[in-house]
């Protein structure tokens, strides 16, 4: 069975665990065995863990704009003075660290893109530690996250150049919301509504990277995407549902992306990229090659 919509996923999840549904779909799609599929996903989770461990607070990106914020946030998170509390502070730190590692040419796992690689690790790694879950549980959640991403890629887009940042951070946030909701025991319906509520919160977000680089505002948007993933998962787990059916939310995401001006789709011409600061960085980078 091809997972072509959130309605299909919700329906299939009424009869069996979403993990089993999605593994079977992957086996059909790629012509692999369940063992091969799960081994590949387990390796991917290992790569996420290695990327987490590889963070170096001393690194700076080629432009010099990015680096060190993850360490700053981690120190502050344990200060006892945070507004959001220590746990969320750790989530924010993890998001920043992964985004900074990416900008500083460290090895990361695109999820769904390199620019949005911090959201999923930020919501999953601290949750695993807090709940004492084993890696197998996290791998199961990755399947759920991946299936949500697949539906969005098929019905809308996961590329900033095509759909703006809502397609990247928005998709990552939806994937994170779904994964958390699944791990916390939410139904398939709740999982899909968690994803939809995350998308709605980030609908219309433009892709406006300064100097065209995956640095500003990309890294910090990973922190915002992680927060919305968590709040959306909690809403869904409280039995709150998206008033707009989840598939219609994804359709709206596509329509918004299609209508988005080209200056706001990864061209570095609009939004914060077009500010005097953004233009000055762009000129500086242009003279470097």
């Amino acid at each position: 069975m091809a997972i072509e919509s959130l309605a299909v996923l919700t329906e299939a999840g009424k009869h069996e665990d979403l993990f089993d549904v999605i593994v079977r779909s992957d086996c059909v799609e790629r012509g692999v065995t369940p063992d091969e599929s799960i081994a590949q996903m387990t390796a991917l989770y290992g790569a996420i863990r290695r990327a987490q461990a590889g963070y170096d607070p001393a690194l700076r990106s080629r432009s010099g704009m990015v680096g060190g914020d993850g360490a700053r946030m981690r120190a502050y998170a344990s200060s006892g003075k945070t507004i959001c509390g220590e746990y969320i502070g750790t989530v924010l730190a993890q998001a920043l660290e992964m985004g900074e590692s990416n900008a500083c040419m460290k090895c990361i796992v695109a999820a769904p893109t390199a620019g949005s690689c911090g959201v999923l690790p930020a919501v999953l790694l601290p949750y695993q530690e807090r709940e004492g879950l084993d890696d197998a549980a996290m791998v199961r959640a990755l399947y759920v996250a991946g299936a949500i991403g697949q539906v969005i890629a098929q019905k809308a887009s996961i590329a900033g150049a095509a759909g703006g940042c809502q397609a990247e951070i928005g998709t990552a946030s939806a994937m994170g919301a779904a994964a958390l909701c699944y791990l916390a025991g939410g139904s398939a319906e709740a999982v899909c509504h968690a994803a939809a509520m995350a998308i709605k919160s980030l609908l219309g977000l433009v892709c406006d990277p300064v100097a065209g680089l995956v640095e500003v505002p990309c890294v910090k948007r990973n922190a915002a995407g992680a927060m919305i993933a968590m709040s959306s998962a909690d809403l869904a787990l409280a039995s709150i549902r998206s008033a707009v059916p989840p598939d219609e939310v994804v359709d709206a995401m596509r329509e918004v992306g299609d209508r988005m001006d080209v200056s706001l789709r990864e061209t570095g011409l609009g939004g914060v990229a077009a500010t005097p600061f953004g233009q000055a960085v762009s000129e500086k980078m242009n003279t470097m090659i």
Partner: protein, 223 residues
């Protein structure tokens, strides 16, 4: 897109198109040359590759690929130094390849034997690439499937020669495209197959009169 197009690739950042795709373009050029690490490489960057390539490490990623590195190789940021150690000379320039995809590079390689290759390729997003020019001929292939590249004189019979050899070896053709510069001039066949073409088949093809070059690149295994 399959599940592992969404989750993955495992890659050195910051950009799947400007970094991972650039590594794959470099690798593809190295594999098409077919002589290991090239001796000299000239790389011209166009469009967004030229404008934002430095900040994205596109330059280092291309060199890393030319040295045979994969997209997840932690040595990518230090590829310039690695090239020096490997004795590969390289030079960058900017070019305006109007009409091409914004993320495009043109590479000119010379191998240890003196063999030359020119290749233009675009990075399409998500790390996927497309070769759009090879040795002056307009082509189009991604390297996602095993790919056989046959250069020949543009004259009757060579498609039969090649498809016959593949049929004899039980290799199924997935796609077949023909390109040429002018009638009777140089032609190239790009054949995507469902499995690896055996070395003996490549030798059989190389021995055929009128066939001037045979290159096979297996599908890339993800890192």
């Amino acid at each position: 897109m399959n599940l592992f197009d969404i989750l993955g690739p495992v890659m050195v950042g910051p950009s799947s198109s400007h970094t991972a795709g650039a590594v794959r373009i470099g690798r593809m050029a190295r594999r098409l040359l077919g002589e290991g690490t090239p001796q000299t490489v000239k790389i011209a960057l166009s469009g967004s590759f030229a404008a934002t390539g430095q900040g994205h490490g596109t330059d280092r990623a291309l060199v890393a690929g030319l040295l045979g590195m994969q997209t997840d190789d932690e040595r990518i940021p230090d590829s310039f130094e690695a090239a020096q150690e490997a004795g590969m000379a390289f030079a960058f320039s900017r070019v305006n390849l109007s009409g091409e995809h914004p993320n495009t590079a043109k590479l000119e390689l010379t191998g240890r034997s003196g063999k030359a290759l020119s290749m233009t390729a675009s990075s399409l997003g998500g790390g996927r690439i497309m070769v759009v020019e090879m040795n002056g001929l307009r082509v189009s292939f991604s390297g996602d499937l095993p790919t056989l590249i046959v250069q020949n004189r543009d004259q009757p019979g060579h498609v039969r020669d090649v498809s016959g050899v593949l049929a004899d070896d039980g290799v199924n053709i997935a796609t077949l495209h023909l390109y040429r510069d002018y009638p009777g001039g140089s032609a190239v066949m790009i054949i995507e197959t469902d499995k690896v073409v055996p070395e003996e088949s490549l030798d059989t093809l190389r021995a055929i009169r009128g066939i001037t070059g045979v290159t096979f690149v297996s599908a890339e295994k993800e890192g």
